[in-house]
């Protein structure tokens, strides 16, 4: 062993090396209460979404009782305008609304993410064209565009997913492109390029591992946005169609009860808000951790 530069700064030598899993666990325990709330919410909703058929007393679309029945023993949250059990519909709504939002966000990420990565690497005409196309698509407010496209193509679930995913992919394109560009200008990327590495390796092994943090955060945020948008579209009657149980349309269907001072119709809306809030708290904490700055968000 030779000269003094061998010994790393004191702080590093003293810290015991832990596995990644151990580190992750410690971080979770240290998290603020808001983040823990978020994790709890997500786990609960996920559970409900997956196991809905086993948790509900009745079936999703079955008419089981009188219309607009009050909260009681037989129907815990009463019945809706057609006589279906509210609690059942609420639980199935988790599966439908959350599930569809999740799939849509995933699809958007695949489309936007791949385009963004390629754009960062192939700066040149590919990037120019892609960016201009995205600029134009983003020039139209998303809800309006969605309404338009849904008018044209109809409102079946696959169409809904594709339309929203394509529109949202534009935002993801921009974010992925921006963070990828930050990596592309670094020396290690240039070194890989000079080595002769192919596009696949450059994307998957050089860029992707270094952008997972911002992309994860973005996933959370986009999920919230997509989720709210689908709920809004369904509320307007242009999203998920009846008789499928969906939180947005359920609010609309039963809105008349509000004039009688009944809060039942608002329950699906509250369910929406809680999930979004939970995800937002989690993303907030995540960003705070990964930015690693001394202060503030």
């Amino acid at each position: 062993m030779s000269s003094n530069d061998i010994s790393p700064p004191k702080a590093q030598v003293n810290r015991p090396r832990r596995t990644r899993l151990q580190n992750a666990f410690r971080e979770i325990l240290k998290a603020p209460i808001t983040a823990k709330f978020g994790m709890l919410v997500i786990l609960t909703y996920g559970f409900v979404a997956i196991f809905a058929p086993f948790l509900t007393p009745y079936s999703e679309t079955e008419i089981v009782g009188p219309e607009f029945d009050v909260w009681g023993n037989e129907f815990i949250l009463g019945t809706d305008g057609l006589g279906r059990d509210m609690l059942t519909r609420l639980l199935f709504g988790a599966r439908n609304t959350v599930g569809i939002a999740f799939i849509t966000t995933l699809l958007a990420f695949v489309i936007g993410g791949i385009m963004g990565l390629l754009s960062a690497i192939y700066t040149g005409w590919f990037d120019q064209v892609a960016s201009r196309v995205v600029d134009v698509l983003m020039a139209i407010p998303q809800l309006i565009f969605a309404l338009m496209l849904l008018t044209i193509f109809g409102t079946s679930i696959p169409i809904l997913i594709i339309v929203i995913a394509t529109l949202d992919a534009t935002r993801i394109f921009r974010v992925t492109r921006a963070v990828s560009l930050n990596v592309v200008v670094l020396d290690y990327f240039e070194a890989a390029r000079l080595r002769g590495e192919r596009i696949f390796w450059l994307c998957i092994r050089e860029i992707l591992p270094n952008i997972t943090a911002p992309l994860l955060a973005e996933f959370g945020l986009r999920f919230c946005f997509v989720f709210l948008m689908i709920a809004a579209l369904s509320f307007l009657g242009l999203g998920i169609q009846p008789p499928t149980a969906d939180w947005g349309s359920m609010v609309r269907e039963n809105a008349v009860l509000i004039t009688y001072g009944d809060i039942t119709p608002i329950l699906p809306a509250i369910a929406i808000a809680i999930l979004t809030l939970g995800v937002n708290f989690l993303v907030d904490w995540f960003l705070h951790k990964s930015s690693g700055l001394k202060d503030g968000h």
Partner: protein, 546 residues
């Protein structure tokens, strides 16, 4: 004057990172008389800036002063209210930041930013302040002193901004100015002008100063007394002349390290054809040419140093050789055969033989890859090694770069120090078994000791594997240490090239002369002599030579 201007006792400052507090300054005493210039020397992370700012009881966010006393002109600063401290800052103690470009507000004119200090503190009226500004701008030798104040920061050059900042610090005639690495970001030739200005003006106004730098030679020109810091502690303190002539501590002596490193016996340049030949290359981006008709060659076992300041084109030359920037005219030859201009058109063999090591080790290694994979990839990609063979070779390379294989093979880059990361970069280049390696300012971001270690390693590897190096640098001390041949560049053209002894002994091209003489020597009288010499011969700046 008996009583000191500034007296710091047992100062302890903590810094926070990752929600843990650790010590940055571990109990330092500092003492400064009126009109005295104190130099603070240390490597990055030694705590010099923190100490300097503590002189006005200022802490950056994320730091706190845990203990200690700071007496300024018989006032205990740690006990004063924020209001009192505020009244002191800018008026009696001023600060000149490292980056003038970032420290001037882009939205206001220079003169506004000057005047607000005396005006807001009630020392002068607006008119008086502006008049004073113009006068000071003249004294710091800024061009057009009456008009330059009305410019915005982005309209003024770096060296000029630094001087404007010095003038601004003097606006209320403070008792103490803290200069925080004021010339580090400047070119060597611009540095001279700024150093002279600062020294003269501090003497003229009899201001006390704390001069912070990592460059001992620079501090030797400016300070009466020097304090050497390391890891937040004082290593040695002495008057300048004493320290320069007979440093006591090992660490202090090591600050001469790079300058004292001498390459082993010069390898004879072989008469064989060169590994790399740059043949009459002209290259640039768009319509502007950055390199103009550049030609030089490098042989196996030889190091050619490409020297120049920012904008000289030395980095561009590297980009052309690696194929990142296809030249407009001319070509690059590898072992006599012309290489395709763009790296995309070259085959694996051609790419393998031209390797590069980068300046910033932090960005040269993929933070999400283990050392094993960083070094292993070239092995599998170029040489097709797999399994046990590959593993063995990785360990071999780690030993070559003097890192214990078992300890480091599975680590991530952020678990290594700067010097260690640079060694891994070297291993990565070596893994490809190239003939030619470009070292792009590889020691410029490292501290003296560490840099010396890297240079030694590179030298040993060169002799062992008969490698050809192209060493890009702006630091002449490094050139003296490792080069066989030198190429001096200015604004895209080669000004002079030849063997090291040829270049370093006169007669020189004017620019080479300027460059060589601008490098601060470890002699306290160097600056004085240089100024006298230049005034006599009428050479002032690099812009006058083209």
């Amino acid at each position: 004057m008996n009583d000191p201007l500034l007296e710091i006792r047992n100062l302890q400052i903590d810094g926070e990172s990752d929600e843990i507090w650790h010590e940055i300054i571990k109990g330092i005493d500092l003492h400064l008389d009126r009109g005295e210039v104190l130099g603070l020397i240390g490597e990055s992370g030694a705590g010099k800036s923190t100490l300097g700012l503590a002189a006005m009881n200022f802490c950056r966010p994320g730091c706190r002063i845990r203990e200690g006393s700071i007496r300024f002109d018989d006032q205990e600063l740690t006990e004063q209210s924020e209001l009192t401290l505020r009244k002191l800052r800018g008026v009696r103690i001023a600060y000149v930041a490292q980056s003038a470009a970032a420290s001037f507000n882009p939205a206001h004119q220079l003169i506004d930013q000057f005047s607000e200090i005396p005006v807001v503190h009630g020392v002068k009226s607006r008119r008086e302040a502006e008049k004073d500004a113009k006068d000071l701008y003249g004294r710091v030798l800024l061009p057009d002193p009456d008009g330059i104040g009305y410019r915005y920061p982005h309209q003024v050059s770096g060296g000029q901004l630094q001087r404007a900042m010095t003038a601004m610090a003097l606006s209320c005639r403070p008792d103490l100015i803290i200069f925080d690495e004021p010339t580090t970001a400047l070119d060597v030739t611009t540095q001279i002008e700024v150093l002279t200005t600062i020294r003269d003006i501090v003497r003229e106004f009899n201001t006390a100063a704390i001069y912070i730098s990592h460059d001992l030679a620079v501090v030797a020109q400016m300070a009466d007394r020097i304090m050497v810091l390391r890891y937040g502690e004082l290593v040695e303190e002495a008057t300048t002349r004493e320290m320069m002539s007979s440093p006591k501590m090992e660490y202090t002596k090591s600050l001469w390290a790079v300058r004292s490193f001498k390459k082993e016996a010069e390898t004879v340049a072989s008469a064989m054809s060169p590994v790399v030949k740059v043949d009459n290359v002209t290259a640039g981006y768009g319509s502007e040419d950055i390199l103009k008709e550049v030609s030089f060659e490098i042989h196996r076992g030889q190091t050619v140093a490409i020297v120049g300041e920012s904008g000289s084109g030395k980095s561009t030359a590297a980009r052309v050789i690696t194929g990142l920037l296809p030249p407009r005219l001319g070509d690059i030859q590898l072992n006599g055969k012309i290489l395709p201009k763009s790296f995309k058109a070259r085959n694996k063999e051609q790419l393998r033989h031209v390797q590069m090591i980068y300046q910033m080790a932090d960005t040269a290694l993929n933070p999400r890859q283990r050392i094993r994979n960083i070094i292993g990839r070239p092995l599998s990609f170029y040489l097709g090694l797999t399994g046990k063979q590959k593993e063995a070779r990785i360990r071999e390379l780690l030993s070559l770069i003097e890192l214990e294989p078992d300890l480091y093979i599975d680590r991530f880059p952020d678990e290594l120090s700067g010097g260690q990361k640079q060694r891994v970069s070297i291993a990565r280049a070596l893994a490809a078994e190239p003939e030619f390696i470009i070292c792009d300012e590889v020691t410029s971001a490292l501290d003296q000791l560490v840099a010396e270690g890297i240079l030694r390693l590179l030298d040993r590897l060169q002799r062992e594997f008969n490698l050809a190096y192209m060493f890009i640098t702006h630091d002449l001390a490094t050139v003296k240490a490792i080069a066989d041949n030198v190429v001096v560049m200015l604004q895209g053209k080669i000004v002079e090239q030849g063997s090291k002894t040829e270049i370093f002994s006169p007669p020189h091209h004017d620019y080479t002369e300027l460059l060589l003489s601008s490098v601060p020597e470890m002699d306290p009288d160097w600056l004085n002599e240089l100024i006298a010499h230049r005034e006599k011969h009428g050479v002032m700046s690099s812009t006058s030579i083209s």
